[in-house]
Symmetry: C2
Subunit: 476 residues, 2 copies
């Protein structure tokens, strides 16, 4: 039991009421909250509330929450905005632990009626024992208790806790994360934040043993100092990734019609990131990249990277990318250079023996001394970690028959597993279905072997560099 | 006939000698220059040169280039570095127009012998009528004359001319470009640039009627002023995209063992881009994005963008991305807002009616007034062009059966074709084979309909903004 026993009821309720469950069972099954919780494996007691039904999806329906014969931990208010005040009052009377108000149409509508409704909601909750999530949000996805807001979300639980002021983005991001090997302890979409707000949610995740890192999408905060304190506290325990929406003029304007919260200036947020050691990201895709680094990359001793893969201009540009992102690509030690010179395949064809070193997939298969070369780089005292690049497009475009990628990955995986230093892998997707298919399979194998994989060197360098910065600053 | 008649012989030779063609016909067919030119449709006369063969792949072989019974326009010197000086001297004696020296192992090897060999090559060429491309390069891919350095490259010609100091990157980039609808007039990999260098190549492409835009990958230039002049001249006629490798310390070090050319400081190159109006890019993938914008995007009247697609946090972040990249996301005019309010599907469910406006794919198909809504945005006097986002992952993850993407694209394509303003589309790839497959098909349809498509809003915003800057500065 967390100290936030109130919020705990939102994630692990023993009883849940669905206010506004549809009497049309097909509708409720396919797109209602009751249907969702039934199918996603929620094990507690469910109470459909609908004055015009006696039974819904095999459960006794009640005309009002006041008629439910036991304490209700969590209630979903799945009705339109204008009906919310009356039904929310009943929840307060009943002493419901946490109420989720789903509907939009409050302050974010920009209309007087919406503003008035939100005001009313705030007044109803004030001083009560009932907590409120929303309005204008999707509330909780918690695989370990079987609560979800999308039946397409995985049943598998994971180490990432999410606090998000948007729900729509999560509908897309959670499944994409799943296909990238990123899973969640708790995801909460909290919308207009009339009562439960980001500081409390971040405190909750900081103390949640299921949660090993936190990602927050924030549009604005009502109490900046409380938010700062919660993030400072959390980053001391686990990495916190923050995507701050609305840092541009147009973005701030877009927020006014989304959650209508206080945005804050760019300068304030720059100072915030410095002070808290939260990891800033700028897009949802970058958030997933950062989580990939957090979950799969072992923090190295420093930021000096040995690059293995593509030669020529590709190696020059990858070096530029790494150094632009704050990594260092040092010369190899004399011993490493001498060792690499002994690898016939490298020396004979005049490949530059340097950092980056050109070894990898070719039309004829993996370079034969690949494992040996990678080990030499990993043993170099100038190198803290390795970045390894492979591009299966090469196979596709060289019209190679058969899957040479699979045996190449056998070598890669067994080599990486026994290295003394961390590795980050880049396996390009290409732009046609054959190469994308090979690449996605390769990504899966790397993840299963426990090391991080990205689609581009920019994604890899950025995520890894920011993670190193987090640990450097945490260590101070 | 171009004024650079010398170089013209490299792209449109009437006769080609392959010095070092293999007597092993299997080897020559699969990986030799003679095999390549035969199979890629070169229509001129081919002369294999090999002192130990009388015939190769059906053609009479000659012991030396001196024995060829006619003038040779273009010769490939496909032998190892140590043999180059002797055979190059014979080419000069023969009066060959252009010689391509393929081998590495010159200055870029970092070894004394390589330095000496490169010096020798320079001296042999000096004052002769023979031009030299290389050493350490792949030379020419010119679909309209059938010359290529990779049999996997498309036979289809296109409007992009490429000048590149790396060949390996092109092996990957040309096929990826093909799958993104980008095709080439002439691609030239020129390596260590002992004779033919980037200024002359850029001048050639500036005057080439087949070439509508130029992309250059540059590591260093011997004559900075000549390079500057050639780029200034070319940008006045057509867009020039430049990826400058080695702008970081590590990148510059990587170049020393690649082409070993003079790198130049970051500050010099910043001034260069200002002065020339060349479009700077930082990665090979960004170069392809920039070419996509150049080939498929009609330059709009200004940089004010109306965004159609995803709502909530995704729309906020897309707005931030656009404004960070130098675009503007203005409020819609009152008339547009009033019009959008009349679209029932938007107003009823409380979606924010603003810029960005939330319309697009949902689990149940395309929003029903989609075409009407897009037309309203395009008619707004505050908007110069549209950015439209669609994410087929939504379909995949909502477990929708059947391909709803195809009918949605019918609507999109027919709507966009009749709009008064340019459109840029973003169709996300996702990270599993089903969604990637849908997305790649969708990309193809957009391209075929003649408008640009990108995988992320950042790619789109960056490429489009830089293109607008090019035209703004060109117009002055």
């Amino acid at each position: 039991m967390s100290v936030h026993s109130g919020l705990n009821k939102a994630f692990y309720p023993e009883s849940v009421a669905i206010i506004g469950a549809s009497a049309d069972e097909e509708v409720e099954r396919s797109s209602g909250w009751l249907g969702r919780f039934q199918q996603s494996g929620y094990k507690g007691r469910l109470y459909p509330i609908n004055p015009r039904a006696t039974q819904i999806l095999g459960l006794k329906a009640y005309p009002s929450i006041l008629d439910v014969p036991e304490q209700v931990d969590y209630a979903v208010l799945g009705v339109r905005a204008s009906l919310v005040p009356k039904l929310l009052r009943e929840c307060v009377t009943k002493g419901v632990g946490v109420v989720h108000v789903f509907a939009g149409g409050f302050v974010e509508s920009g209309k007087e009626e919406g503003r008035r409704l939100q005001q009313q909601v705030a007044e109803i909750i004030k001083g009560s024992n009932t907590r409120l999530i929303g309005p204008n949000c999707l509330s909780v996805y918690c695989p370990s208790s079987g609560l979800t807001f999308n039946l397409g979300f995985p049943a598998k639980s994971g180490p990432v806790g999410v606090v998000s002021q948007t729900g729509a983005a999560l509908q897309r991001l959670v499944p994409v994360a799943d296909s990238r090997g990123i899973h969640f302890s708790k995801v909460i979409s909290y919308g207009n934040a009339v009562d439960v707000d980001s500081p409390e949610l971040i405190d909750f995740l900081a103390n949640d043993p299921e949660t090993k890192c936190v990602w927050a999408y924030i549009e604005g905060v009502a109490d900046g100092q409380a938010f700062l304190r919660s993030v400072v506290n959390c980053t001391q325990k686990k990495p916190v990734v923050i995507l701050k929406g609305g840092l541009t003029e147009g973005g701030a304007r877009a927020i006014s019609s989304h959650t209508a919260t206080l945005v804050g200036t760019k300068r304030v947020w720059q100072a915030f990131f410095k002070q808290t050691n939260a990891i800033p990201v700028e897009t949802f895709d970058e958030a997933l990249n950062q989580l990939t680094a957090i979950l799969y990359f072992t923090p190295p001793a420093g930021r000096r990277v040995g690059i293995v893969g593509l030669g020529g201009g590709l190696s020059v540009v990858t070096t530029d990318i790494c150094e632009r992102e704050g990594l260092q690509v040092p010369p190899f030690s004399g011993e490493t250079l001498e060792g690499l010179e002994t690898l016939k395949g490298l020396a004979d064809i005049g490949r530059g023996i340097k950092n980056p070193v050109e070894m990898g997939l070719a039309a004829s298969g993996l370079f034969k001394d690949y494992a040996e070369g990678v080990r030499m780089v990993a043993s170099d005292p100038n190198v803290d970690f390795l970045l390894i690049q492979l591009y299966p497009e090469g196979y596709v475009h060289h019209l190679v028959e058969g899957n040479l990628m699979a045996p190449a990955l056998d070598v890669l995986v067994s080599t990486v597993k026994n290295l003394p230093k961390p590795v980050v892998t880049v396996i390009g997707l290409g732009h046609e279905i054959a190469s994308v298919g090979l690449a996605l399979e390769a990504h899966k194998r790397c993840r299963q072997a426990g090391f991080p994989v990205f689609s581009t060197p920019e994604d890899a360098a950025k995520a890894v560099s920011k993670l190193i910065t987090y640990y450097e600053r945490k260590g101070r």
